[in-house]
């Protein structure tokens, strides 16, 4: 089967600083992968490399076998909502319609009735239809997060990439977002990047820990020793959801 995401020997330097070192990562279609790691560990750089916003010094990134701009057509990107200017004069519908610009000729782009219908159905699906005409400053964090997910889905992506999807939302919204992602995972590959270890729930198939290098796990069971290695200190992991624990029980007497 074709890989959804295939990263081979990726290296990224900022000047003399090595941000990413020899990253290799394979994600299969309809997998749900979480990349975790400390701040400054290169998560954002890896994300930007995949999105084509950072040019790697060496290595290759393929998305469904394609590279470069053609590859990005199949990505739905959900950035952190906290970095948005909430006073920007734009409505919920207008934000989601931006997703329909993907692959358009830049001249005189107008949205068709099909575009608007698709947007309506996405808003409906994400339970934000009644917010359609609101300016984005009048939304809660969780609502804006769902608007941004709707915009990413408007691209009709094969792979959904989310940057810290649960940062600064309340725990109820967090649960809703994960339920939603789990549902979307039936149709598409999902990759999330987060430093929030509590986000690592039982929905997730695989976890990769990133701190300059990538430590990859084929299953949702982090080994305490490895997390310590990545984070440089012992970390509390919360096992929520249920089917299996995220972390093995800490040994008696260990920190």
């Amino acid at each position: 089967m074709e890989l959804a995401l295939d990263i081979a020997n990726l290296n990224v330097f900022y000047g003399d600083d090595c941000a990413l070192k020899d990253i290799n990562l394979q994600v299969e279609e309809r997998e749900f992968l979480a990349i975790i790691g400390p701040n400054g560990g290169g998560k954002t750089t890896l994300l930007k490399s995949i999105l084509g916003l950072v040019t790697p010094d060496s290595g290759e990134i393929r998305i469904f076998g394609r590279s470069g701009e053609a590859a990005r057509r199949s990505i739905g990107y959900v950035p952190q909502f906290s970095r948005f200017d909430r006073r920007f004069p734009i409505s919920v519908e207008e934000v989601v319609l931006i997703g329909r610009l993907a692959g358009r000729s830049p001249w005189f782009s107008r949205f068709s009735r099909q575009d608007r219908q698709l947007v309506d159905s996405l808003l409906e699906r994400l339970e934000i239809a009644e917010l359609k005409n609101r300016q984005i400053g009048q939304l809660s964090g969780g609502q804006l997060q769902r608007v941004l997910i709707a915009r990413a889905l408007a691209v009709e992506p094969q792979i959904l990439i989310l940057d810290e999807p649960t940062a600064s939302v309340d725990s109820a919204s967090k649960t809703r977002i994960y339920d939603l992602l789990k549902e979307l995972n039936q149709e598409m590959t999902i990759l999330i990047v987060t430093h929030d270890l509590s986000a690592v729930s039982s929905n997730i198939d695989k976890i990769a820990c990133l701190n300059q290098q990538l430590f990859y796990h084929g299953r949702t069971e982090l080994e305490a020793g490895l997390v310590e290695k990545v984070y440089g200190c012992p970390v509390d992991l919360i096992a929520h959801g249920v089917p299996h624990r995220v972390l093995r029980g800490h040994e008696e007497g260990s920190l």
Binding site: E69, R72, Y77, R87, P89, G99, P106, Q135
Partner: protein, 277 residues
Amino acid sequence: MIETILKYNFLQNAIMAAVLASIACGVIGVYIMEKKLVMMSGGIAHTAFGGIGLGYFLKIEPIFTALGVSVIAALAVAALKRKAMTDSDLLIGMFWSLGMALGVVFIAMTPGYPPDIASVLFGNILAVSRSDLRLILGLDILVLTTVTAFYQMFKAYIFDEEFASVAGVPVRTLEYLMYVLVAVTVVVMIRVVGIILVIALLTAPPAIAKQFTYDMKKIMALSVLLGIGFCFAGLWVSYTVRLASGASIVMVAVGAYALVSLVRFGLRRRGGTAREA
């Protein structure tokens, strides 16, 4: 006053210039506000002075050289910002002064009687000629056509450059285009308020308009109307009190912003206490 307007050509030209300049100014002002390009616009405006000087030196109509130089400066800042990874802030600072310095040097090197620099720096809407009006009209059409053609793309780019880029929106081209539009708009405004005073007229109308609506098209339309209103009011002030026209227009614009903000602030506080009571 109406009688005087009908009698004098230069007053009719001034009114035409106020209307036409406010169109480009109101529309691009909204982009400048949202993309936070105020310093950038100031820098471009001041490099235009280099162009004015060059025009005098080469005996070409200065407004054309100003257009050329400020467009080149805008493209240079955009290109250097990408390449050098320098803060565009620093680059703008240098372009800002360099433009003025070149202007001074060119004018000093020009033989003969020195030109009227004050009207370039502070504007003189009463000195607008027919050919100036034609140029302003042409630039207006250029600005409006470009904005209409790329309206959705510009909105996507200003709102979220990263997402737009991933979605295949040509963000780099749009950035260059936007800088050029700023340069063109600045040149349009030189006759009206001059190089130094242009910033107030680019920022005050959109800043006021944004207090009343969150619809970008409406903000643009309202900015245009406000710009026209400020120019007329400023002209009237300048006519009755015999003050420089550019300075009067700017004082009216900033005064209106202060007034609107104060009134809204007062209303909000009153509303707040009313709700608490």
